[in-house]
C-alpha cells in the first residue's frame, strides 16, 4: 500500500512539474535537446517503472481475489458501469489509435478525422443492438451468445476462430507499436528485447490477475492517457494562442502539401475512390461491434443496466479522446514537421521522422514539454500497449479455453478449475506468439493493421451475433456457413488486395482493387446465413427456431442471466 501511495505522490509531483514545463514550452526560444542525443531517457524509464510497479501491485491484489472461473474471465461481474466505461475506452484507445491517428492526421490532415468518426459511430450501434442482450445471454465469451440455442460444437468453433484471428492480428499491431516505441525512446534496449519485456509482463498480469487485473490496469491507463492527451492538446492550443484558425493555418503553412491537408478526403497521394470510402466506413462501424476483447467487457458488469451505462461513459471518453488526437496531429504538423531535431533529413522530406511513422505524437510531447513530458507520454503509450495486449490475450485465451476446450472438446464436462488452468496455459502461449509476431512484423504502419482486423470483425463476428440475437430463423447451418463466409471472404480478399498482394508480397497489381473488403463480404455473409438457414428443413433446425422464444425472454428481460458473485 505504501509503495502505491509513494508512487501516487511521485505522479502528482510529476504532474505539477509538467505544467511548469508546458508553460515554458510556449516560449519558442526555450532550448530543448534532441532525444537522440540523450544517452538514456531516465524520465521515460522511471515513469515506466512506476507504472509497472503499480500494476504489479494490482495484479497481486487481484490474484488473491481470483478464485473462480467467473473471477478469472469476468472479474466476478463486480465492475461498475463507470469503471467498465473507462476500461472499454481504454481497450479502444489503443496505442494504434493514439499514435496511429495522430500520425494519420500528421501525414494526411483532415482525412484522419474521417477515421476517428468511423471508429466512434460503432458505439451507439453496440448500445442499441448488442450490449444489454449480450450481457443477458452470455457467460464469458461472445460465442456463448452466438451458440445460445444452436449446436455448441460447430458454432463455437466458428466463433472462436473468428475471435482468434481478430485477436492475433490486433496483437501484431500492438506489439509492433510497442517495440518501435520503446526502442526509439531508449535506444539502448533493442526492438526485440522491448517486445520480450511486454510479453513477459502481460503473461504475469493475465495469468495471475485474470480479468480483475486486466480491467484495473486498463482503467488506470485510460485515466493516464486521457490526462496526457488533454495536456498535449492544451499545450498545442496554448502555443497557437487558443485559436483553431491559427493552428490550422500554421499547419497548412508547415505541411509540404499545404492546402491539400484540408482538402483531401483520401490519404494524400491516393486517388479518390467512393467504394473504398464506403467500405472503410462499414468496416470501422461494424468492426467495433465485433471485437472479442471489447464484447468480453460486457460480462464483467453486474447487469444489463450497468452494461448500458458503460457504453454511454465509454462513448463520451472515446469521442473526447478522438477530438484530442485530431488537435495533437495538427499540433505535430506545426511543431514537429521540419524540425531538424526530429526529422531524418530536412532537406529531403520534412515529414519523415526518426524512429518511424508512428512518432509524431511522441515528438510533439518533447517539443511541448521537453524530456520530461516525452518520458511521460512515452510511458503512457507503453502502458497503453501493455493494457490493450493484456485484454486481447485474455479474450484470445478465453476463446481457446472456454469455447474450444471446455465446450467443444470436453463438451461441457470439464471442471471450472481445469478450464481456468487451460486458459492460463493459452495466455502463456499467446504471449509468446505475440512476441514472435511482433518481431516478424517489425516495419509496418500500426494503424493499417488494426484497420485490417476490423474487416474480419465486421464481416464475421458482428453479423452472426446480430442474427443470433434478433432473428428467430437462424439455424446452426446458417450461422456456421455465414460465419465462415465472413472469415474466409475477408482473409482471401485482404490477401489479394493492394496492401498484402502488392506491398507485402510484391506480386504486382492487386487482383482485388480495394483495401477494405467489407462492402462485398458483409452482404455475402448475411445472404449465405439467410439462405442456409431458410433452406434448412432438418428437425434440429426446427428445434433451434422453437428455442428462440425462451432465448428472447432472457435476452430482453435478463431473467436467468448470469449474476455477480458475492465477494
Amino acid at each position: 500500500m505504501r509503495t502505491i501511495r509513494t508512487a501516487l505522490d511521485v505522479l502528482a509531483a510529476s504532474a505539477a512539474l509538467l505544467v511548469v514545463q508546458l508553460a515554458q514550452a510556449a516560449d519558442p526560444a526555450a532550448p530543448t535537446s534532441a532525444p537522440a542525443e540523450v544517452p538514456v531517457n531516465w524520465h521515460a524509464i522511471a515513469m515506466f517503472i512506476i507504472f509497472v510497479a503499480i500494476t504489479l501491485g494490482i495484479t497481486y491484489w487481484a490474484a488473491k481475489r481470483t478464485k473462480t472461473a467467473t473471477d478469472f474471465y469476468a472479474a466476478g461481474r463486480g465492475i461498475t458501469g463507470l469503471q467498465n466505461g473507462m476500461a472499454i475506452a481504454g481497450d479502444y484507445m489503443s496505442a494504434a489509435s493514439f499514435l496511429g491517428i495522430a500520425a494519420l492526421v500528421y501525414f494526411n490532415g483532415f482525412y484522419g478525422l474521417i477515421f476517428s468518426v468511423g471508429w466512434l459511430v460503432g458505439w451507439p450501434i453496440i448500445l442499441f443492438l448488442i450490449a444489454e442482450r449480450l450481457r443477458n445471454l452470455g457467460k464469458f465469451t461472445y460465442a456463448d451468445v452466438a451458440s445460445f440455442r444452436l449446436q455448441q460444437g460447430p458454432v463455437r468453433t466458428m466463433a472462436a476462430i473468428g475471435s482468434l484471428i481478430v485477436v492475433i492480428w490486433y496483437l501484431i499491431g500492438q506489439a509492433v507499436g510497442a517495440g518501435q516505441l520503446l526502442h526509439t525512446l531508449v535506444p539502448q534496449i533493442s526492438y526485440r528485447v522491448s517486445i520480450v519485456i511486454i510479453g513477459a509482463l502481460i503473461i504475469i498480469y493475465v495469468t495471475f490477475g485474470g480479468m480483475k487485473a486486466t480491467t484495473w490496469v486498463q482503467i488506470i491507463k485510460a485515466a493516464l492517457l486521457l490526462g496526457g492527451a488533454t495536456l498535449m492538446a492544451l499545450g498545442v492550443m496554448a502555443h497557437e494562442g487558443w485559436s483553431f484558425e491559427t493552428l490550422f493555418s500554421n499547419a497548412v503553412k508547415a505541411h509540404p502539401k499545404h492546402m491539400e491537408i484540408m482538402q483531401s478526403v483520401v490519404p494524400i497521394g491516393a486517388k479518390a475512390n467512393p467504394i473504398e470510402s464506403i467500405s472503410l466506413g462499414l468496416t470501422l462501424m461494424f468492426g467495433t461491434a465485433g471485437l472479442p476483447h471489447i464484447l468480453m467487457r460486457f460480462f464483467t458488469v453486474g447487469d444489463a443496466k450497468a452494461a448500458r451505462k458503460s457504453v454511454l461513459y465509454g462513448t463520451c471518453f472515446i469521442g473526447y479522446f478522438y477530438i484530442l488526437t485530431f488537435i495533437i496531429g495538427f499540433g505535430a504538423i506545426v511543431l514537429v514537421a521540419g524540425n531538424p531535431e526530429y526529422v531524418v533529413d530536412v532537406t529531403k522530406n520534412v515529414l519523415n521522422l526518426k524512429g518511424g511513422s508512428s512518432m509524431p505524437a511522441v515528438y510533439l510531447s518533447h517539443s511541448l514539454g521537453g524530456d520530461f513530458f516525452l518520458g511521460f507520454i512515452a510511458a503512457v503509450a507503453f502502458a497503453t500497449i501493455l493494457a490493450v495486449v493484456s485484454g486481447l490475450t485474455l479474450a484470445g485465451a478465453s476463446a481457446l479455453s472456454h469455447d474450444i476446450y471446455a465446450n467443444v472438446i470436453m463438451k461441457g464436462k470439464s471442471t471450472e478449475a481445469q478450464e481456468v488452468w487451460v486458459s492460463k496455459l493459452c495466455v502463456i502461449g499467446l504471449g509468446i506468439l505475440a512476441v514472435i509476431l511482433g518481431i516478424a512484423f517489425e516495419k509496418q504502419n500500426v494503424a493499417y493493421i488494426v484497420a485490417l482486423t476490423f474487416s474480419i470483425a465486421a464481416c464475421a463476428n458482428f453479423p452472426i451475433l446480430v442474427l443470433a440475437v434478433f432473428w428467430r430463423g437462424l439455424t446452426t447451418r446458417g450461422a456456421v456457413l455465414g460465419g465462415y463466409t465472413g472469415i474466409l471472404g475477408s482473409i482471401i480478399l485482404l490477401i489479394i488486395g493492394p496492401t498484402v498482394w502488392t506491398k507485402v508480397l510484391e506480386m504486382g497489381p492487386p487482383i482485388f482493387p480495394y483495401d477494405f473488403p467489407t462492402f462485398a463480404v458483409l452482404p455475402a455473409a448475411l445472404i449465405v446465413a439467410y439462405v442456409a438457414s431458410v433452406t434448412d428443413r432438418s428437425a434440429t433446425a426446427d428445434k433451434e427456431r422453437a428455442a428462440f422464444g425462451a432465448q428472447e425472454v432472457r435476452s430482453e428481460t435478463g431473467l436467468g442471466a448470469e449474476v455477480a458473485t458475492a465477494h
Binding site: G118, V121, L127, F248, Q263, G549, V553, L559
Partner: protein, 103 residues
C-alpha cells in the same frame, strides 16, 4: 427461472409491448446513426467538394471538419437518449414483467 415463468412471460402483453417499444427505439436510433454517418461518408465519396470548402473566405477550416465533429457529438447524444429512455421506461416495465411471472 423456470420454463414455466418463461412461458408465462411470453404470454404477458406487457412483454410484447416491451419488445415492440424497445425494438422500435433500438432500430430507429440505429437507422439514425447509419443515416448520419453514411450521409457523411457519401459526402466524402461523392461530394468531397462540399466538405473541403472553407467555412468562410478568410478561413482555412473546411466545412467537413465541423461536420465530422458534429457526427461525433451526435453519436454521444443519441447514446444518451437511449440510456435515458431505457432507465426510465424499459427498466420499470421489465421489473413489472418479472414480478408478474413470479406470482
Amino acid at each position: 427461472m423456470s420454463e414455466l415463468s418463461s412461458n408465462k412471460i411470453q404470454k404477458n402483453p406487457k412483454y410484447h409491448q416491451l419488445i415492440k417499444e424497445r425494438d422500435a427505439l433500438s432500430w430507429t436510433l440505429s437507422a439514425l446513426v447509419l443515416v448520419i454517418y453514411f450521409g457523411f461518408i457519401l459526402l466524402v465519396a461523392f461530394a468531397p467538394g462540399f466538405l473541403t470548402q472553407p467555412i468562410s473566405t478568410t478561413s482555412v477550416i473546411p466545412v467537413g471538419m465541423l461536420v465530422g465533429v458534429g457526427v461525433i457529438l451526435a453519436s454521444v447524444v443519441l447514446t444518451g437518449i437511449y440510456v435515458y429512455r431505457a432507465n426510465n421506461t424499459f427498466d420499470p416495465l421489465i421489473k413489472e414483467i418479472i414480478q408478474e411471472a413470479a406470482k
